[in-house]
Symmetry: C2
Subunit: 394 residues, 2 copies
């Protein structure tokens, strides 16, 4: 894999004392020149102060930096929360010598705890001091909450013979649900793209990746994906072919990070590639995939390595869209468990139980009604998920 | 409490060997004369064979008996499943000396396992032999699956000086979700009501009780509520006042059984009376209550006795309806935790943690926007829920 660096970008992370356990919790990502920006935010009606601030600031289309903390979501803190988000970016802006509104903010952690802005401003000089081309791994660690591993990726492309790179880092292990921009993800590229191309590319990639994964069905108040393009490589993306190539790289990178997130989902022991096909339309397939992917009974059966296909078709049946129970086919990997609505018997069941013992497998439900399809990356529901979330704040 | 008997009804339960553990698994409820019938069935598109059979048979408006088994849902068994459901009722009908289509069937248990019809028919003579006025408690035990306690209730009323009784029994501890007829419930009354009055009363009571509870958000393929009225007491319900009195008794009885179900929900340690008010309309309030009640993060926090109100307002925010985060008030019982969108501080938090240590408490979210309200009875998500459902079939 190419190194996690991107021309014209510096990053860093340090421990500012926001997390109780003393690990990295404050980070900074800076472009040495103004960068075009595209962003996708949570659709939750309750939005953290930094999300509300960023929504305004990305409208200019250009930014220089993102300052981010873990350990406190700065959400539901009223007027004090918004003042803190502004103060956090102002402290960084002053030291970087840029305008306040060129700095974005992001926070992740507990909702509703007063934001320790004094810790953030006190740590800011050391943070700026630490900025380094090789600082992206530290930044990735500084945004972790219940994540057990940091999540990063890099892709390389070229446009008219000039190489460019896209580097991404993300966090997210709970409060993950499709159809809402998910978790925190920061992507930087040294390619040069028009602002509208950048936003369009990001929307497409997010829709095909972060919007197709689920861990627990909850949606954060802080979800943010920011893509910055500073053009430092000199690679200009403007032809149709170049745009398509960039899109493929970005799609692949976002899917890579999505998979990393599900694998590291809270308490996850199984990663399940769920496919629904043969629906009357894609929207029907999506509704069914969504219902199966979030069913506690299906997810606990995955955890128990139990090929309990009855729960899968029962979940499909309550998705609110038409299906004919007598036409359903179901496979675990390539083992057919259900044919035209009826179980395939003990031998198939035994083989399927073998499939479920693997850490990753696919489940394919065919409605045999039409050409609608949908895919979703989901996971099991384990004892550890409950333990992690029952004890999160203690 | 009045005894669990109802004039003109007999019931019983026995062990037919369908459940692996040898406990009661086959039951019968019989009226000694034709009874008017009302019924509500699952809205799942995948429906068990007995549900499909009963839907046809209740159209006549009169039935004599219900035969029910636990340990096998007789669902997704194709043509064999429907033949088995018919055979089950035919065996009972022959011994009872009534027409086949006067007998309803209900099944609960594993989906997709071949139905052991030979065990049912072999046990039928003994079953009919055991029919007894005092047999309702045995019938209630015979329909249990993961239930740890049988669920029954009785109410008494009078019409024009004549006493009547309503007796109900139910099962259900998982695959419970509102807005779909829920679980199995059989209700018998010796009052005399017109068929349309009976169905209307049942619809209202189900909507206010079984459709307002949730355990895990999954909906069964077998959910069935059957209400039989045989008029054996001679109490005739036809005036407006009498109908209203009957409705109140039926509402109260259904709510009683609903609460018994949530309390006995799989792995439940906390019963939570969730109230949403101040929404723009009742439908908005319902959408928010539904989202909070099913949030795994909220439910695991209840299990952890953690007053993590941030997760509750985050769930409210993703319900897809309008709310103003800065107007939200939240109470745990009478302890205010959130005022106009902001936490009430450590003292309130400490008091709220005290509330969460209780086995039953209320959570009230006020949107302060309008007069829309909704209530839901929900529960926590515990380690035992995962254990029970990971191991269900093994």
């Amino acid at each position: 894999m190419a190194p996690l660096t991107c021309m014209g970008f510096k990053a860093c992370g340090l421990a500012a004392g926001i997390k109780k356990n003393g690990s990295l919790d404050l980070g900074l990502l800076v472009s040495d020149r103004p960068a075009r920006v595209a962003a996708v935010f949570t659709k939750n009606r309750v939005q953290a102060a930094p999300v509300r601030l960023d929504r305004e600031r990305v409208k200019s289309g250009m930014v220089r930096a993102v300052v981010v903390n873990a350990g406190n979501a700065n959400c539901a803190n009223g007027r004090q929360g918004m003042l803190a988000a502004r103060a956090m970016t102002a402290a960084a802006a002053r030291l970087l010598g840029v305008a306040d509104d060129q700095v974005l903010a992001a926070s992740t952690g507990v909702i509703g705890a007063p934001f320790p802005i004094e810790k953030v401003t006190a740590a800011m000089p050391s943070l700026v001091e630490k900025l380094d081309q090789g600082g992206i791994p530290d930044l990735a660690r500084a945004i972790m909450t219940t994540d057990t591993r940091s999540k990063t990726g890099v892709r390389e492309g070229q446009a008219a013979g000039v190489f460019y790179r896209i580097v991404a880092l993300a966090k997210g292990a709970g409060m993950i649900r499709p159809d809402m921009a998910t978790m925190l993800c920061f992507i930087c590229t040294d390619a040069d793209l028009a602002g509208t191309d950048l936003q369009m590319a990001l929307n497409r990639s997010v829709d095909g990746s972060f919007n197709r994964i689920t861990i627990d069905g909850d949606t954060s108040t802080n979800d943010t994906v920011i893509l910055m393009a500073n053009g430092a490589s000199g690679a200009r993306i403007d032809s149709k072919n170049e745009k398509e190539a960039f899109q493929r790289l970005l799609d692949d990178l976002c899917m890579d990070l999505s998979r990393q997130m599900v694998k590291d989902g809270e308490g996850v022991t199984k990663v399940v590639d769920l496919k629904v096909r043969g629906a009357r339309c894609d929207a029907d397939a999506r509704a069914i995939a969504d219902t199966i992917a979030h069913s506690p009974l299906v997810k606990t059966a995955f955890f128990g390595e139990d090929a309990n296909w009855g729960r899968i078709i029962a979940a499909a049946g309550r998705a609110g869209v038409f299906l004919d129970p007598d036409r359903l086919d179901l496979h675990f990997d390539d083992v057919q468990m259900v044919k035209t609505g009826t179980g395939c018997g003990p031998e198939a069941e035994e083989k399927a139980t073998g499939v479920l013992k693997k850490p990753e497998f696919s489940v394919t439900l065919d409605l045999n009604l039409g050409t609608g399809t949908a895919g979703m990356l989901t996971c099991d529901f384990s004892l550890d998920y409950v333990k992690i979330n029952a004890d999160y704040r203690s």
